[in-house]
Symmetry: D2
Subunit: 406 residues, 4 copies
């Protein structure tokens, strides 16, 4: 037969099954293959050396969880047509396709577009190439498909995206605190009145999930060394943009020195293809080259990133005072014999924010045995509003290590 059923080894789940020709053709498309060259966690490998896993593997992993979720829901009597099943699988497979290299930081540097818009641009382009076979997937993704719970499987507090990335990032960083009972949560999913809900027996697992997510947030996603690397990389891009006139020397420089809007991408189809050629390799190669750049600032910053001569960082519960920043700048001027304006490439501040459960976001709903629906904050004995609403805000300032020792 022409069936392209494929089994792919995955260290997190053992096996991933690709059971449809469209899915098979999509994962062979250059737009997706490109994600195999983009790390899921950017510079996190500087702290957790195992965290080299690609966005590509996350896309496959989320697809795998979607396969299971559909099986579970169907076994509980939820009707999902084959068209819907394929649509929701394609939607989860492509949900992150808009991410560029180190996208956390580069997102608004390379274009005036966020990664969600890029995702839609890619999906629509692929839909043209595949003769409209992605239409259902797109409507599920942008929540215009009539059955809302399908969208929730792709994007909500309990979507397959989050379930996979928590499991995967925990696995590759080796941070066992982030281990989540993914399989159990999926087994507890159900649908009521077109809403994705969790069966009552799953409450404990949801509690664990919320807490693990929070711990991963602080221990991995907001790790202070990674924050520092991100800021240095941001300053590198900022400085490069100041130095370079619009140029097409490389794809990366093109996007760094032009400032394309969504309209540009829609007007000129070749732009998206050009954007699709950029990945982590271009970033690192370029920054390595800049270690020998004429501009001292770009040179210094590039060397700091590549040779991991990372800045010091202080994280605290109070906003960083301008007095502190001023005095750091002052000392840096003296120490390095530089202008005050130059110090802003080396010293900066920022805010980290996280709450366990965002009430503005979609809720996690629990279906009790008697059929009634409660929010997790009501259904849980362990987690109440006070805990869930608590927003942790931290403030940081980073500055050259040399200031620490003087």
């Amino acid at each position: 037969m022409t069936n392209k059923r494929k089994i792919i080894n995955d260290p997190v789940y053992g096996f991933l099954t690709i059971d449809d020709d469209l899915l098979y053709d999509l994962i062979s498309h250059p737009y997706l293959l490109r994600e195999s060259q983009i790390k899921q966690l950017g510079f996190t490998y500087m702290v957790y050396p195992g965290a080299m896993h690609s966005r590509f593997s996350h896309m496959l992993g989320a697809l795998n969880l979607m396969n299971r979720a559909i099986d579970v829901l169907r076994s509980k009597g939820v009707t999902i047509s084959d068209e819907e099943s394929l649509g929701v699988k394609v939607a989860i497979l492509l949900h992150d396709i808009g991410h560029g290299p180190f996208s956390h930081t580069s997102e608004h540097m390379l274009a005036d577009i966020d990664h969600e818009t890029f995702t839609l641009l890619f999906m629509q382009r692929l839909n043209e190439q595949f003769n409209g076979r992605l239409s259902t997937a797109i409507s599920i993704f942008d929540d215009t498909y009539p059955r809302h719970f399908l969208h929730q499987l792709v994007s909500s507090q309990l979507d397959m995206d989050r379930l996979d990335y928590l499991a995967r990032d925990s696995f590759f960083t080796g941070v066992s605190e982030g281990i989540v009972g993914t399989e159990r949560i999926i087994n507890m999913l159900n649908v009521t009145d077109d809403m994705l809900v969790v069966d009552e027996k799953g409450v404990y697992s949801i509690e664990k999930f919320i807490i693990s997510r929070r711990l991963m947030y602080w221990q991995v996603y907001m790790h202070k060394t990674v924050i520092v690397a991100d800021n240095i990389f941001y300053n590198i891009m900022r400085r490069a943009r100041e130095l370079y006139k619009p140029t097409d020397e490389t794809s990366l420089l093109h996007f760094l020195t032009h400032r394309h809007s969504e309209a540009d991408f829609r007007t000129d189809p070749s732009l998206l293809d050009l954007f699709a050629t950029i990945d982590d390799n271009d970033v690192i190669t370029t920054v390595k080259k800049w270690i020998h750049h004429d501009d001292k600032i770009l040179r210094n910053l590039s060397s700091m990133l590549i040779n991991r001569h990372l800045s010091a960082i202080k994280v605290g519960n109070q906003p960083v005072t301008s007095d502190l920043v001023d005095s750091l700048r002052e000392r840096l001027c003296q120490l390095f014999d530089i202008d005050r304006t130059e110090t802003e490439y080396y010293i900066g501040t920022g805010i980290l924010r996280n709450n366990a459960y965002n009430f503005n976001d979609q809720e996690i709903r629990v279906r009790l045995k008697d059929g009634s629906i409660l929010d997790i904050s009501e259904a849980s004995d362990q987690l109440d509003h006070r805990f869930l609403e608590k927003q942790v805000t931290k403030y940081y300032v980073y500055y050259p290590k040399e200031l620490r020792q003087s």
Copy 2:
């Protein structure tokens, strides 16, 4: 050499190393071998079929963690003499030796002594047999040894007992919610002013530990099916004691029908040896025999336990009213055509209680980078007093399944 270095396979940690002759001789002693016939989690296997692991494997596991803890502390400059090292290892190895079969339930049924007292009785007896080589271990265990942190390694909020049983019970039940970063926590241990403390970097792991413990509590240790089995078993022992005159027919019956005090055990050394012959096998064999007992109540209860015709149970947040209990009894009298007094063997109530972190108990202290010491409730951004102090209390009533359907 005569060195009895021994490596034992353990599914939780891979390997356990016994590196001292005394330890080797102890784990070959009948008092300890007996614990290989006593399940760590009693009747929990009725819900989690994998939970057949023995108290013996827990004792070895806790010893293994102690080995690591000593290595970590020594590498951080904490002085621990070889005598102290062996003492604290023996103490953790023997810390649970006082547990009898299904001891959660049988504890006060088989003697007027709790399991901690039994542990001391066994330790002292072994100390005689081993010519005083357990003296340091005993003083660490009963906290009379001058260096308090050694006792804390054996018994405190972060002792090797808890760290092992959470990891082990989570492993064998398959409840991934209970997975704790045991190795990371041990790596973060330190000693300040003779107190066991956690280095600041370990705060996240402690948060995860506290929460996992809480989830394990409700999902495993207080699982309602296990509560029912425990209650039925309790009623079986109660009824048997009413029916039997003091008898020596079997060791189990001896202790069930006599009521020995600690003084008895001290006066008559053979009593402890007799007690040491009882394990899970005697309990199950005896209850199986009672399925054919002349007494109808004992017969019924025994059959309910063995054939898992377990009672129904309702768990709620409000105390069970006497009205509800009365009406259940009333209906049972009619349904089974029995006396009202008989119903109390089939219907009963109880309370389940747990708070995340017991402030009356020892605290978990965190050492910040600046050397100051904080309680975890102050050092943690995620867990504050409100969360940690919150005590969850639940009330249950159990009754024959037949009442549910009528």
Copy 3:
């Protein structure tokens, strides 16, 4: 609905799903619950303390693998009716139900029947109780069902029984050498001409499976300490049978002192129910009691087993000479001051035998990409006939430890 869909935690696979009322009712039946009191690996826990897992958990595990195998085969276009699916699931669930306590050793001691016959007796009895709903299962089990590959899923070189017990025994002993890519093998199964075959891509996994099985054989199943314990237990039963007249004192003694044939079990239906009341608990309780028996031999043997004062054993590649046995007996007579006849309870010999791949047994067939079928010995580059046919035979003699030191 009345659907009894049930999810059971299992440490090996995470979750087991029971998706049919008949399966649910079977796993609640006393005949099966009894297997939760029978250890899968008998006395192996004396060497591997984690190996306390029950035959019950193995039965559930094999059922779980069968669920997956059916899904895989159906996804490859193999037609399996719902009736057949349920039949083959029931067959694998019940395939080991004939095992009694420590059945490896006790098999021919408790009745003149092997455990396969007991399995059929139990199946037929259950079929009566469930009004013939097990008929398909029984015909698949005894290979009278027309579609042979269904039987092969239950009993062949690659049946779900073996795949589960290798994975499970490796998991609970902690012997990582036995880890098999169970999931991968099942993914590679297929059916050709009513034969279970392995797709060509699965050859490497089969090689690993054959070798792992061989290593598990020597490292676990034939571990010499376990062999010793088995022999002591055998001698205990032998001695007890000599001492006791036919008695009904306990179920265990009944079967030990009578000698029932298959005909007896068919004539008297109550016999099977009586047999079903015996489990590991009865064995250990009884042997513990015999530590105080009047008969010195029974007393000694029982103490050796319970207190693990196990015999010494020598395993070699040459048959044990009668000269060696004679001289051991001679020395034992002198050392213990006993009769020569008595020595045969303490000294004995035996043979251990294993080949990697039994050619008399069913073959493992591989389907190449071109559709042709080869035996694994031809399809594999690594394993050839010479390797696979090689039968390892070892000879052992055991004798009291005291002889070793004199």
Copy 4:
């Protein structure tokens, strides 16, 4: 204190401990950081998406195993001085530092030097920078240190390099067939007459190790899709070298278009620093750029690699005949309308070879309980000479996919 004790999360072992300032300074050195940008398994991620792990993580992993090996040997009474301990740790940490990007393929393309020589060049340079503190490490590495077993820990059939990469590659590819009982093997190591040996109890683990290595070889290291990617990449480099005159445009092009000998590197110290700036990123960035190269061949090959339009490959047990190659070339000429000389960039042949145990290489020696030493082929019942000596040789031919379909 100034102690730079560091704990690094590692998904394979949980934790890695860096317990010496020299080790800490080395892993912060640009020469080593560079290895975090070089994948351990090159293009293997095209088949196993999880296999993105870096050589850096392997170097840390091997160091971790060395830590354990030293502990085990010392606990068995083998004297290892602190100087030797640090030396052998540094040696294993740096053992792979000579690897460049995709070094399997690029090794002789970028310089006339193999990676072992590069390793020595780097070690000697570092030794200068660290004032001779690496001298012991270097003498252990090049086997001039008097105690030979230390070298064997770094380079032999059972060195920490192999033990780590088998475990690590198995982990990240998700190929469970490669799982090896690493911890058990290390526990079984010992030293006799200055030779690294395995205690008799470790024979089973060694058998499993040899077989797992063999399976990993065919399932991962020699996976045919990876072989194809390697060949395409080789042809890309070959073609580029033909097209480019010596150029310094980028570091990669410098080395691709010059042909430096070991003498060059010794004469001009800056060459090694230049070489140290190249990593995987440069390779991918460059090949991506060549997709738009003027030269059609380079353009085609680059596109095939990046867009994974990989060649077809046939692997067989017989040498590929020149007739077959000729006919493939003929058909390609017609299909693509190209010259015959051009076909050699698209069509090629090669040999894959592996035997389980290389007798020319160092042996694995087993120490029996009686103290005698045997080779594993004699000590093992499972593996005999016939099996171990068996060399598997396969022959392959690759050619454009288009030829397959015509």
